[in-house]
Symmetry: C2
């Protein structure tokens, strides 16, 4: 069964629901934020008890938060939890200057009356009528600093959970009923929490991932005693046949006692470091292999909205005309469907992040997964971080909810994708112009921030005498000498004790200026030429 | 060797140091923020390699952050790390309205021109002269949103680390040379990270703590397979003789294979739940026992600055006259010295938090410990949270650094302590007036937010027939019936499988109004009277 909803549907549901009443540390009812009216009739997710670690299984609900159930009793006075009084918070109001979500999104535009909006959140906005200080009497706001800056639920505030739940339904339409969401402190932390749910040191658990993978993910898994197993990839990312082969032929003894893996970590769009994006067919095939071998999927999608049109060397110059207006649904239609959208079993935990599309410093993202997994995750969050900061929740609420709305946010995403597309084009142009194509080859990325360069080590004058790692170091050192920092392929090897599959470098087009990108690629090309004596 | 510094000394050092230059993801040099000129001559901390867990020992530095060392090379262009360009951050500026730190601190005062200050942080304040948009040419700011909201070091920004290092030196004067600091996402998360540094499931590690302890701390330790061992406490908190007895008589076999503990978790001031505060003599005695048994100390001090004068029933009415002005040094002189201040071995990790004295929603605190331990902690933070949110760091910077300074912050702390003192007095008055002292007894707390009530279970009409836990439940249920929520003593038992030492309830004076506190205590008294048939 499939369904779809639009931003208009969300607006209509909001109107029916009326004002969200959610005070300090209020629990959110995620179901109440779903717009598709038939969600309760969808099949339920599978249970994952057999995969859950000893540590995670042993987590009990926080006793003080459990006691909060009594707070519903009318007239009850709590001397229970030690929540400070907001009278003692030294912040009366917080304001942001942001683009207004209507016209242009540039810094310059945001600084003007036309293109910018000044948002403001007061300490008591949710408990007094709008404009109360100036004699007004509008309805109160739904969120304020007295709520955002006090202790809250580790899952996040109801106000932000409503927003991410709606956005997730708009983007993913999960095909099972008990899908849920919770906020995270960013996907880096969310991954560590996920690994602690699914992996036991004593059980000798393993983690499947792309043969070249996000280095921080690898660095997170290893100290926990998790054996990382690399799956081959091509220009469409992880290869399902390789995944199937590894799982079908798994030999515990030959693997030194490591149990057959039941967990896959993958970055489907603009994979870090290879830049590869899985097609929809590829995703379906991977999902099917995971179903067959009972593998749970951690879908990490920081770059999902940075999916770009294919790179073309000969293209019309970037126009100063605004791009034709797209509806939110048209924009979303250009994106490869998510794993969650095909997740009939509820075997996917999707990690979304605001880091790459808003600001990394929010240290805030969110999960989509079945209620069982979200509940285990939140139990851990109560101990390890208590959810994202109130300052972040208050700030993003002001931008996403009060200034942009869902439609404005999608416009922002389209703007950001356009910005990264131009950056990618600049870098790819420089590669075509300045790299020795006799030894350096690549596939133009269609998502994300990274470009993966393969250097043909067999053409190195000392091929056979020098190892790939030695050549990598030689080129890297020459790059530094030439004044460019690039990522060494070996930094991203899922199994660094195995011989490398090739000689690779990762470059990013995320932040350098156009001039600097071109200069940097020239320097990289010179380093390759010098070491390969071309 | 002991030393002391003042806020004036800090100001003088700052002046000598000049402008702090620390851009995006800059590493902080903690030593450069120390004011005591002789710190390098102090003895070094001991090494704790023998206590560090397998997981923590296996953590290697983040490869991408290591590569950042090359960024120092002049003229180098980085295509290395995927840091987004701040041009893509949709926030031009952020402003807060806060009390100005000079006169009054109330909401009402902060809303006025006289008592309030409007602070502002722009995106590029650190890279353009002050007032550049209006033609000005002052020196640039030291911190801005382009830095705060990008990826940063997991240890925290140099700008905030300078502040907490100075504050720590002012308060603690650590007596060893290689003490260091790093930011945390709050002490709840910091404790979990600390436990993962010092405890191994396979090693059957144990954690010593007060027999009644912070429930979230207990809930953090247990799923990790850590055996919690309760140490007896009295009105001055943890009893060193009890600690010594447990350690001296430790029998691994009798303890079911649990190794002799090497880790103590303690809340020295206003302990949660008992409200007890360790005297300076008590702290010295505890430290000495820990030295003798090679125990590392986790000092959790959320309530340190909420140390109050002793409670007196007959006291002058709260005066509307401002209290006599105190210098920062006078205020700090009223506080019991910290464990860090007596930590000649570097065996203490102190956890400080802004939650109880500024806002919980900052999800930001900091650690003080030896460089070795801070380094292990930060390695983990790189994987599990990447440090506190940039919105929090930017907000607290605006309040602490730009508006208050160290002296203003100490004034704020004195204000908050006064506010809690009045709250405590109200609650204690109500206890004297409304509780049946024939069965309920207590020691007035001199710090924190909690008050611990002992009910004499031997006076219960069904004493001998009913267990303490049954009586506790009966009273709790009657409390709910009467309309008051209190904490049950058993929620805080370090070893819930052991018979309880008594019948206890925890009440907080943190947030209820004076009227509600009095009413709530009356209801609690009625519940006790009813169940005890008084």
């Amino acid at each position: 069964m499939s369904y779809s909803i639009t931003t208009k549907d969300i607006e209509a549901r909001r109107k029916r629901d009326g004002r969200l009443v959610a005070g300090t540390a209020a629990r959110a009812d995620i179901g109440s934020f779903k717009t598709f009216s038939g969600w309760r009739e969808l099949p339920k997710a599978r249970r994952w008890d057999h995969l859950i670690s000893k540590e995670s299984a042993a987590r009990e609900p926080c006793v003080l938060k459990k006691a909060a159930v009594h707070l519903k009793k009318p007239g009850l006075i709590s001397l229970g939890g030690g929540l400070p009084s907001p009278a003692n918070f030294p912040i009366l109001s917080m304001g942001l200057r942001v683009p207004n979500g209507e016209t242009e999104f540039s810094d310059a535009a945001a600084a003007t009356e036309d293109g910018g909006a000044a948002t403001q959140m007061g300490k008591y906005d949710a408990s007094q009528p709008l404009g109360a200080t100036s004699g007004g009497s509008g309805p109160a706001e739904e969120y304020d600093l007295s709520i955002a800056l006090n202790y809250g639920q580790a899952a996040g505030s109801a106000q932000m959970l409503r927003w991410v739940t709606e956005h997730t339904e708009l983007v993913c339409q999960p095909p099972y009923s008990d899908w849920s969401t919770c906020l995270t402190v960013g996907s880096t932390g969310a991954l560590e929490q996920a690994l602690r749910i699914f992996c036991d040191r004593e059980r000798h658990d393993a983690l499947l991932t792309e043969a070249y993978s996000f280095s921080t993910a690898l660095e997170t898994a290893k100290p926990m005693g998790i054996r990382v197993v690399g799956v081959e990839l091509d220009e469409q990312g992880l290869i399902p046949e390789s995944l199937d082969n590894i799982l079908s032929g798994w030999d515990v003894q030959a693997r030194g006692g490591t149990a057959k893996p039941h967990l896959l970590y993958t970055v489907p769009s603009g994979q870090n470091p290879t830049g590869a994006t899985q097609s929809v067919e590829r995703r379906h095939a991977i999902y099917e292999v995971c179903q067959r071998h009972d593998v749970y999927i951690l879908e990490d999608e920081p770059y999902y909205f940075l999916q770009m049109p294919p790179y073309q060397r000969d293209r019309p110059a970037a126009s100063s005309e605004p791009a034709p207006a797209q509806t939110p649904e048209e924009f979303l239609g250009t994106l490869v469907p998510t794993f969650v959208s095909m997740d009939v079993d509820g075997r996917v935990m999707r990690m979304d992040s605001f880091s790459k599309v808003l600001v990394p410093g929010s240290r805030m993202g969110w999960l989509t997964a079945s209620e069982q997994i979200i509940e285990r995750f939140v139990r851990h969050a109560e101990a390890c971080n208590q959810g994202p900061a109130g300052f972040s929740q208050a700030s993003l609420y002001q931008i996403l909810e009060k200034t942009w709305g869902h439609e404005g946010y999608i416009k922002w995403l389209a703007h950001i994708r356009e910005s990264y597309t131009q950056r990618r084009n600049t870098l790819l142009d420089a590669c075509e112009d300045h790299l020795p194509t006799s030894v350096v080859s690549w596939t133009p990325p269609t998502a994300g921030m990274f470009h993966w360069l393969r250097v043909d080590h067999s053409k190195h004058p000392e091929h056979g005498k020098r190892s790939i790692l030695e050549m990598e170091e030689e080129i890297f050192d020459q790059c530094i000498e030439n004044g460019v920092l690039v990522g060494r392929g070996s930094w991203f090897a899922a199994e660094p004790d195995q011989p490398p599959a090739g000689l690779f470098f990762r470059v990013t087009y995320a932040s350098a200026s156009a001039t600097n990108m071109t200069e940097a690629i020239t320097r990289f090309g010179d380093a390759v030429r010098k070491t390969f004596r071309l």
